[in-house]
Amino acid sequence: MVAALTRRFGDLDIAEEAAAEAFATAVERWPADGVPPSPGAWLTTTASRKAIDRIRRESKRDDKYAEAQMLHGNIPPEPPGAIDDDRLRLIFTCCHPALAVEARVALTLRMVGGLTVPEIARAFLVAESAMGQRITRAKAKIKAAGVPYRVPSAEDLPARVAGVLTVLFLVFNEGYLATGPDTDPVRHDLTAEAIRLTRLVCALLPEDGEVAGLLALMLLIEARRPARVSASGELVALGEQDRGAWDTALVAEGHQLVRELLAAAAAGAAPGRYQILAAINAVHTSARDMRDTDWSQVLALYDQLVRLDPSPVIALNRAIALAELDGPEVALATVDRLADTLAGYHAYHATRADLLRRLGRSQESRAAYDKAIELAGNTAETASLTRRRDQLG
């Protein structure tokens, strides 16, 4: 409804406020008056009236013409395609590249996800006033700079979709990192919200492999959540997880999506990074046990991914797969080459520590674990790293 109002009135602020007021009125009146026969239409009509009232209050002499245009337009009854178009337009607007990434995330959660400002603030550990300002400024920029409210043209679509997926994956990761029994439950809800929004974008852009890839990736990661944190609050590595605790429904859905993507890739569609990451996760979640993992397939997928994205973190993860096939010595050689770029990344040192341990180089392994623990800070990972270091003897 917010999307349709934004289309009609061309203003995110007015649309949002009018929608909120219409809902508030419904909450007040419907228990006494009864639910109207067509609640959606009632809400839209009520919200439109409130938006018109606000525009009238705010309009200046030279805006009279623009006001007249807005007042005399109608919101036609929405055929299914039109609602989808409105929601797509809203998503692309909230994720516009002219906005800073953190502003895009906040605006998307507020306008598309419907989360309240306090909820978003708590989720990202930011003061409520600061989050409110971030959203207000983003809306002000959209208005002042003339960010258009539309779905990007075909030639711009791939880059703009990538921008939307970045926002959605950021929301997911923020929820994913929120582990431990004391975490604010709102943060757990972020992964669910990210998945919900990605499902929406998937339904709106069914032909886009990267969107489906991101959804599959999220589902396969989320499927493992029940096994990821031990009772004592320690992060459990993939190799040690109780695979029986994985959510079989999410795994099945993720696998189905990956199968479809592989079929499309076989027909010539070049897979993007989310699709490849999803496929890697599918290989892992297909194995009954860590030992049963098809590592050569994992490595082949990482080789594909590295060609698309030469980032050192991907190279690091590839090295872990390499160790399973060619042994820890070969893998350590490739990992050591990443020293300059990843010196500040705890997972780099944790990986080195594990490889050194397997090579029997205990003292160096201990030093690497110490570095990893120092950099990991106060997370559920620290306990797991500490235990491994202490097991070195």
Partner: protein, 107 residues
């Protein structure tokens, strides 16, 4: 909507002949497509003078208003229906003059 494209530079050199040629092509395109309002290259920042007459006396200061490595080297004023169009034009402009461009809407 009108937008100001501010050309940002951080070295003393002016546009090379190749850059001049590319800028000319870009300007022709702006005119042909109806985006051109005004444009100009500015002299080096040391040629600027700041006037402050907010108080009782007029203060005259030699040099640009901001002491910084980056400075304003030139600008375009263009007409565009929305930010997406403006950003696409600025992208072409940045490539043509080989500098960073700040895109800022007029009120």
């Amino acid at each position: 909507m009108q937008y100001l494209f501010s050309v940002i530079h951080d070295q003393a050199d002016l546009a090379t002949p190749d850059e001049h040629a590319a800028i000319d092509v870009f300007n022709d395109r702006l005119r042909a497509e109806g985006h051109w309002v005004f444009a100009g290259g500015l002299t080096f920042p040391e040629a600027a003078t700041v006037i402050d007459n907010r108080g009782e006396e007029t203060l005259v200061t030699d040099g640009p208003f901001l002491e910084s490595k980056e400075y304003l080297a030139g600008f375009w004023v263009i007409e565009a229906p929305d930010l997406d169009v403006a950003l696409k034009l600025a992208s072409a402009g940045s490539k043509a003059c080989n500098r960073k461009i700040e895109v800022r809407p007029f009120r």
